[in-house]
């Protein structure tokens, strides 16, 4: 490892495997998704979990928050939720003779935004602005959010009645979109036999702290990306732009997102450099929700097709 990486980061790095193992013990049979979720956190991105209810979205979010030792708040999005409900509000206090700001649940390290598509566009955009800027403006005053501020949002893609689907511009705020899917037979059997996941969660210790996460993020940014990897990534981006099935290709920001995620993925593998394999591992999770297909093909299958088509030059 090059000496550019600071020693506290290495201590944090040493704690990562246990953190991963603990989340995997809570969310059974989803090692790849769990690893991706960790990569998302290490890359400093927000995570969108999209799946039908009951496959463990919220469990995963809780497990991540708890294991990473982050202070977290949960907000259930509904159609009557207002921006002030999450941001907070200034209340006049008679004894001081002035307005005092009462911060909402947004002012936390990890925000779980359940069923984000049930919120109104107004609330959604308020949240997404906070995600993009890492700060909020309330009554003319700018208030910073905690340094590790991260949003894990969930949504149900099928039950669309009374929902406000996130527009593409706002989907772009999420570094990754993950689906968990049904657990495989063995995992489901273990799940049925075991005790309640939430109860289990409370007994387990935090494996990381906010400071660890910050150090790891810094370390992930220092992971080396060689010319060969950048060439490959650029070829992938270019391929999305003149693909017959894709209406709008990936933006340069999407490219940066893939790169950041690939760096975090490499760090999780204990490497100080990105390989094309890392790009391939994170590509679908980072890029699929940013692709706009021309026809009715799924975004995930498009991403997989791109990976299979674009050759990796040695």
């Amino acid at each position: 490892m090059p000496d550019a990486i600071a020693t506290p980061g290495n201590a944090s790095l040493a704690r990562l495997p246990k953190a991963l193992a603990q989340v995997n013990a809570l969310v059974l049979g989803k090692t790849h998704a769990v690893r991706l979720a960790f990569a998302c956190l290490l890359a400093g991105g927000h995570l969108l979990l999209e799946d039908i209810p009951g496959v463990g979205k919220t469990t995963l979010a809780h497990a991540l928050a708890h294991t990473c030792g982050l202070a977290y708040q949960r907000v259930q999005f509904t159609s009557d939720l207002t921006p002030t409900d999450i941001i907070g509000v200034g209340i006049y206090e008679r004894e001081h003779g002035q307005f005092r700001f009462h911060p909402g649940p947004l002012f936390t390290e990890l925000l779980l935004a359940d069923e984000i598509n049930r919120g109104t566009p107004k609330v959604q955009s308020a949240l997404l602005e906070a995600m993009a800027e890492s700060q909020v403006s309330v009554e003319g005053e700018t208030r910073a959010l905690p340094a590790v501020f991260t949003v894990i949002a969930t949504q149900n893609p099928l039950d669309l009645a009374g929902t406000h689907p996130l527009p593409d511009s706002q989907l772009d705020r999420f570094l990754m979109r993950l689906s968990l899917g049904y657990p495989d037979a063995a995992a489901e059997r273990a799940l049925l036999a075991g005790e309640d996941r939430r109860a289990l969660l409370r007994e387990l210790p935090a494996r990381l702290a906010a400071s660890d996460l910050l150090a790891l993020r810094q370390q992930a940014r220092a992971v080396n990306t060689s010319a060969a990897v950048l060439d490959y990534l650029q070829a992938l981006l270019a391929a999305t732009r003149d693909h017959a099935e894709i209406r709008v290709g990936l933006s340069p920001r999407a490219g940066l997102a893939v790169l950041a995620a690939a760096r975090a993925w490499a760090l999780l593998a204990g490497r100080d450099h990105v390989m094309p394999e890392d790009v391939q591992a994170v590509f679908a999770a980072v890029a699929a929700h940013r692709l706009q297909p021309l026809r009715n093909s799924s975004r995930e299958s498009l991403a997989a097709a791109l990976l299979a088509e674009v050759s990796v030059r040695a």
């Binding site: 080396n224 060689s226 010319a227 100080d272 394999e277 040695a314």
Partner: protein
């Protein structure tokens, strides 16, 4: 001068230009007058120092030097015209050109002048070595031009690029060499060139052969049909000298009939490749039986070409090693063979008279007496004899007693004639050096030799080598070795000899293929491809056609492989490995990453190969994705080597 408006060249291109100028000076060094190179070298160094500090050369000094140079050349040669004065002038002016090089345009002109001066060095020698040296000297000049271009890279890159450019120019140069019509006579008569005769000449004045003995250039090469005859029998006669004026030996101009010959024993066939001599004398092994086509015999059976040999000559001769030449002596020959200059060298005449008295008509006894004298009476073999006075033969025989073949041959023939035995001097070459690699005999100018022939009743003209009586090893080792008075010197032994043999083979090929490629041979070669060098359309068509094809192929290659410009050793090595694995049935999927591919293949291999491939794969990942490009060049080559050695 509009120097202020013109951009000043950077120090690098000026340095490269100075190097090219110095190289041109070095290549002309052997034939420049001694006084010229040191000040020129100083001038180049001084000018370079001045330029590097941004100074201009003092204009007055420059004008003074420009005036002084031709004056010095005239003082040396008496003229400004001719090959040698021209070279001195060109080199001097080239160095002076540096003093006024202030702008980029000046560098361009300087490069052109330097290139011309370099080319003129080929007027003095066209050996392979010289040609290579001229090409090498073009290198810094080309780099000087490249360095002027905007965005020129590091000097190492520059030199590499220009080496490539020079290499790429070779096919075009070859094409032009073969196709551009050659003239039977030189385009411009470089004056000194036509007069510069080399080799044995038809006049043996004191020191004439002595000059040759220090000349290591090849005179000719002989390929024998059978074994090379022993050294002691390798006498190549070039000219027979009858007339002595007390100072020099000449052939004389009396018309004589061809001497008859009675050959005994098996004749010897051989082919001689004569270097350019610009004379008509053709050496042949004693004793040629028939003149080859295009040549004729002198009366004393030396070969004469119809015209001076200007481009080398190849001829086949048959000789007899055992013969009786002129069993009966022609009256005119007898007269010539007894001719002596009037009143010269009385002491030698007196000595001959004493022998005559003692041995009477026994010619063989007199010959013996003379040889015994040379052998026993303190005669010395040296290439640097003391100077002789007006009575040459007397001074040599009785005072200095030191000299080389021409002294001994001259004195011996004088003594024989004075004793009444018909005798003559034969000049030519003796010995030569058998090339063990290619099986031919190399005869150098330093093998030049003079010996005597005496006419003996019943034996005809008989060869006598008085030098052999003084120093038998002159005949067994060669002139230089004999002069050094020791056995075989270091350069006549062991590996060095083998190396010299090989170099000489290369030189012979070069001489035959390149220097000897004249108008006649060009026509012969081109006719085979249906090109007529007399018609310019035909040549232009051929030149344009072949060049067009070459350039089209080059262009196609350049367009096909845009990545070839970047020097990606690792990428190319991986591609090779990938092709080999594909042949073995392991194909990389379209989107499969290199390391993932190698890992997958390794899993399908037996343990030994798998381990190797995994190591290659790990190392590849480290080099490709973790290292900075500059640090990994060596490691990349190392990886490429190990990948080559990998056997799936």
């Amino acid at each position: 001068m509009s120097a202020a408006a013109q951009p000043r060249p950077d120090l690098r291109s000026f340095t490269l230009l100075s190097l090219g100028v110095a190289a041109a000076l070095a290549l002309h060094l052997p034939h420049l007058p001694l006084w010229l190179p040191p000040p020129l070298l100083l001038l180049i160094a001084w000018r370079w120092l001045g330029f590097s500090r941004g100074r201009r050369f003092p204009a007055l000094l420059r004008y003074a030097l420009i005036l002084a140079l031709p004056l010095g050349v005239i003082a040396t040669y008496g003229t400004l015209f001719g090959r040698l004065p021209g070279a001195a002038l060109a080199v001097g002016l080239l160095a002076l050109k540096l003093t006024e090089t202030e702008t980029r345009r000046d560098v361009h002109i300087g490069v052109a002048v330097a290139a011309f001066t370099l080319m003129s060095a080929l007027l003095f020698g066209q050996s392979l070595l010289m040609t290579l040296l001229v090409c090498a000297a073009l290198w810094p000049l080309l780099a000087a031009l490249t360095a002027l271009q905007p965005g020129a890279g590091a000097t190492r890159m520059l030199l590499r690029e220009d080496a490539l450019r020079l290499a790429l120019a070779v096919p075009v140069a070859l094409l032009a060499f073969v196709l551009i019509p050659r003239l039977a006579t030189p385009l411009w008569g470089a004056p000194g060139l036509a007069q510069a005769r080399t080799g044995i000449s038809a006049r043996m004045s004191p020191g004439a052969i002595g000059q040759l003995l220090i000349d290591d250039n090849p005179a000719f090469r002989v390929g024998f049909d059978g074994a090379i005859p022993p050294r002691a029998q390798r006498y190549f006669r070039a000219v027979v000298l009858w007339h002595f004026d007390g100072h020099a030996w000449t052939p004389g101009d009396a018309p004589l009939p061809l001497e008859p010959i009675a050959a005994q024993g098996a004749p010897l066939h051989y082919t001689i490749n004569l270097e350019t001599t610009r004379q008509t004398l053709l050496p042949a092994l004693d004793m040629p039986l028939q003149p080859p086509a295009g040549t004729r015999f002198s009366a004393a059976r030396t070969l004469l070409a119809a015209q001076p040999v200007d481009h080398g000559l190849r001829y086949s001769v048959t000789s007899s090693m055992r013969y009786v030449l002129a069993p009966r002596l022609d009256a005119a020959e007898r007269r010539l063979g007894l001719q002596l200059p009037m009143n010269a060298d009385p002491r030698a005449r007196a000595l001959a008279a004493r022998w005559r008295q003692r041995y009477g008509a026994d010619a063989a006894a007199i010959v013996d007496a003379a040889l015994r004298m040379f052998h026993d009476d303190g005669f010395r073999y040296t290439l640097l004899p003391p100077p002789l006075g007006r009575q040459q033969v007397d001074d040599f025989l009785f005072d200095t007693r030191a000299g080389f073949c021409e002294h001994y041959a001259s004195a011996f023939v004088f003594l024989m004639r004075a004793a009444g035995i018909p005798a003559r001097v034969v000049a030519g070459y003796q010995g030569g050096y058998a090339n063990r690699v290619a099986g031919y005999l190399l005869v150098r100018q330093s093998d030049a030799h003079a010996w005597a022939e005496v006419w003996l009743q019943g034996h005809g003209w008989t060869r006598v080598d008085p030098t052999a009586a003084v120093r038998p090893d002159r005949i067994s080792l060669g002139a230089t070795a004999a002069a050094q008075g020791s056995g075989a010197p270091w350069y006549l032994s062991g590996w060095w000899l083998g190396l010299r043999d090989r170099i000489d083979v290369i030189n012979r090929l070069w001489d035959q293929a390149v220097v000897g490629f004249n108008a006649l041979r060009q026509r012969g070669l081109l006719a085979r491809f249906g090109v007529d060098p007399e018609r310019w359309q035909s040549v232009a068509l051929a030149l344009g056609g072949v060049l067009g094809v070459v350039m089209a192929v080059g262009l196609a290659l350049a367009l096909r492989e845009p990545a070839a410009a970047t020097d990606d050793v690792l990428g190319r090595a991986f591609a090779r490995l990938e092709r080999r694995l594909a042949r073995a049935g392991h194909r990389r999927g379209a989107g499969e990453a290199p390391v993932a591919f190698l890992t997958r293949v390794a899993a399908a291999l037996p343990a030994d190969g798998a381990g190797q491939l995994r190591r290659l794969s790990t190392e590849f990942a480290r080099l490709r994705y973790a290292c900075t490009p500059s640090a990994s060049a060596l490691a990349a080559r190392n990886w490429a080597r190990r990948a080559r050695e990998f056997r799936p």
